[in-house]
């Protein structure tokens, strides 16, 4: 589903965020990326849907190469949904409009068709009664659930989550993790950056530990936690758990 | 008695003598007053003001002022007298006092050859669709309005802008005090011409000073009288208005 090969990414200020990073994600797999701050996790996710240009290497998503062709890039943006740490809902629109917008403008659905999907998804994340609310009137956890619904409305094949819960209050993290788990169970392909080891253990199929723009260790979820091979991984796990 | 003494002491004349400096307000008007190449003021009015100061035994200080602000500046005491080719008009006289005239000037008109082809009388310009340019707040502006009520009169802060309007052909004619129109017609013979010879108005020119100051007015009046009789004024007028010797001083 995702083939990322030997990716290098250097920011204009000279920071080498990715230094030859490769990753394979199979369909319906849930890959969790962990690692210390600044290790390049966000950068990798951002490269996957074209928010950042890569300097070297190749990315192929669902057999479409992410190159300079405008069609390909557009196609990939439609296949890939992204949920940000800071929600990024459109504050001047209601929940309904937030979710309708891209469906109507990008998928060219009419209002009725869009509305149907919107209600369906809001039901799924448990937010149907807030359909007329503005983002400012919602708690963080509620906003994040709407953001997930908004990304899902584009019917993406892959969902990327960048620390989707770390801006939330402890009590609200649970709500969002629930929605993510449900998605994983339904067979959505997901790449998740998180500090929530509980989630990684429960829902992750494959765990990737990265540092300084490179993979230190990757393994299936069970092996990773019970039996880390590298000293660095063990140190990290001891500090974070 | 006391009142009279007080008035005398407060008169501009006394102030000037005490200060030792006569401050003269004027605005650039060729060839009444202008700056030469070195930044010094020259012109007919400048000569008059210098002579006046010399006779009073004081120094002279020139205060160049925008024409549109010249009367308020006089009224608020920014200078003592306007010697600036100011025509004596009733509405002006309501605000300031004028001396007896030391000079006369008249309006004349210069027109654009292309635009005003065949216009050979004043009446030819008094038509709808004709544009006349003049300097804001001058007797020329009033004359333009009076003689060409049907034409559109466009007013500018400066003579040179009015003339520019004429040169680009957006105005049919410019009204201004003689001899300026004649000078320009001479300078740009291909583009400008004089539709009528000479002037079509005659206006007395006087010094302007603040109201309620008999002493100073009387002094100035008599000074003018004396200079007129000696022929001094005519002599200088001939130089500035009759010859173009001074042109090399400004270019």
């Amino acid at each position: 589903m995702i083939q990322a090969k030997d990716i290098k990414k250097t920011y204009p200020n000279g920071v080498e965020a990715l230094r030859g990073f490769s990753l394979l994600v199979k369909p319906s797999e849930v890959v969790v990326i962990v690692g210390p701050s600044g290790s390049g996790k966000s950068t990798f996710l951002r490269c996957l849907n074209g928010l950042e240009e890569i300097d070297r290497g190749s990315i192929v998503i669902d057999n479409i190469p992410l190159d300079h062709s405008k069609q390909n890039r557009m196609a990939i943006r439609r296949e890939v949904g992204m949920v940000f740490q800071s929600f990024n809902l459109f504050p001047h629109m209601t929940v309904r409009e937030n979710i309708n917008l891209a469906q109507m403008l990008v998928r060219k659905k009419n209002r009725k068709q869009a509305e149907e999907t919107t209600k369906d998804l809001l039901g799924k994340v448990g937010m149907l009664e807030k359909i007329e609310a503005k983002p400012g009137q919602l708690s963080g956890g509620q906003q994040q659930r709407v953001a997930i619904a908004r990304a899902l409305a584009m019917k993406p094949k892959i969902m990327l989550f960048d620390e989707a819960t770390s801006a939330l209050d402890p009590e609200m993290i649970g709500e969002v993790l629930e929605v993510m788990k449900a998605l994983a169970n339904e067979g959505m392909t997901m790449v998740v950056v998180t500090h929530e080891m509980g989630f990684a253990r429960e829902a992750g199929d494959h765990i990737v530990f990265m540092e300084d723009g490179l993979i230190v260790e990757q393994a299936d979820s069970r092996d990773f936690f019970s039996n880390p091979r590298e000293e660095r991984t063990r140190l990290f796990l001891s500090q974070i758990l | 008695q006391e009142l009279r003494q007080k008035l005398t002491q407060e008169s501009t004349l006394e102030q000037v003598l005490k200060r030792g400096v006569l401050r003269v307000g004027f605005s650039t008007f060729i060839p009444w007053a202008m700056k030469d190449k070195t930044g010094k003021f020259i012109g007919f009015e400048i000569d008059v003001a210098r002579e006046l100061a010399k006779d009073m035994g004081v120094k002279v200080e020139f205060v160049p002022t925008k024409w549109s602000g010249i009367i308020p500046a006089l009224l608020t005491g920014k200078f003592d007298v306007i010697i600036g080719g100011m025509g004596i008009l009733p509405n002006r006289n309501l605000k300031v006092n004028f001396t007896t005239p030391y000079d006369y000037s008249g309006m004349s008109i210069v027109a654009n050859k292309k635009k005003a082809e065949g216009f050979d009388s004043l009446d030819a310009f008094n038509k709808e669709g004709v544009t006349i340019a003049a300097r804001l707040g001058t007797t020329a502006a009033q004359a333009a309005k009076k003689f060409f009520p049907k034409a559109e009169v466009r007013l500018f802060d400066d003579e040179s802008q009015a003339l520019q309007e004429l040169m680009t052909g957006r105005a049919h004619a410019v009204v201004s005090s003689a001899p300026l129109p004649a000078f320009h017609a001479l300078k740009y013979p291909k583009r400008l011409f004089l539709p009528i010879k000479g002037t079509f108005t005659k206006e007395p020119i006087g010094f302007a000073l603040r109201k309620g100051d008999i002493d100073t007015l009387n002094f100035f009046n008599n000074w003018i009288l004396v200079k007129k009789h000696k022929g001094w004024l005519q002599e200088h007028k001939d130089y500035w208005f009759g010859t173009k010797d001074w042109e090399k001083l400004i270019k």
Binding site: D55, G57 | T28, K35, D158, S160, R191
Partner: protein, 297 residues
Amino acid sequence: MRITLLKLPKTSFLDLAILASVATGLAYLAHRVAVGMGYDWDWAIIPQYFIRFDDETQSYVPNLLLNGLLTTIRLSVWSTLLATILGLVMGLSRLSRGLFHRLMGWSYVESVRNLPPLVLVFIIYYFLSEQLLPTLHISNAMDAAPGWVREMVTILFAKPQALPAFLSAVFTLALYEGAYITEIIRAGIQSVEKGQWEAAYALGLSSRQRMQHVILPQAMRRILPPLGGQFISTIKDSAIVSIISIQELTFQGMELMSATYLTFEVWITVFLLYLSLTLTCSLAVNRLEKRMAGPDH
């Protein structure tokens, strides 16, 4: 994939379209000039109005335009200085707890910003300066002053006899620009995070110490660049005092034009003079902005 060796600017369709339309526009203008205007250009006489040879002293001395330019610079510098002081006082007033101070600051800013500058110039020149300047006894002081003082004053401000007018022009401009500087300073102070106020408070600093040691030094980096920008505005706005016959650049330009009738040459020269003056400052301000935007000092 893409290996970038040399970053050449990518040229897009938009680039080409813009270049094409600019070129067409210029060509059309050139065509119209060639066909239409028929103006006799006479640039040769402009230079002598910058600098001329003085026969009396046998040396080169600045002439009209250069003098005007210098006056413009003097006006701008002094009025910006004065305006900054005024702006600081008023800016702090606007943030003050006292209603009186806030009202004063507010009414100052609003009245200045809503009145046409022309009217402000009149009010100050004809009414207020009449009241204030005589009490300073400037004319008398100048007459009594020794020669070197008079020379200093001439270099720094204006000729002694023109001093009162110059000062009232400086007051006027300072009052006008001060309103904008007030807002710059207020915004700068408000841009300092709330946390900084609170930390200083929690450490027990008095409100004066807090302002002086914590808030103002940090606000400075937000204040200096727009303050530089305001200086540029002052240079431009100083043209308005030409209506009270201060002999700055615009006034001298107008005088020159009425004497020579070289409308285009004079306007273009004056335009370029302003442009070179303000562009220099603008470059300096950009530098400053870059420095200020960098990591903390």
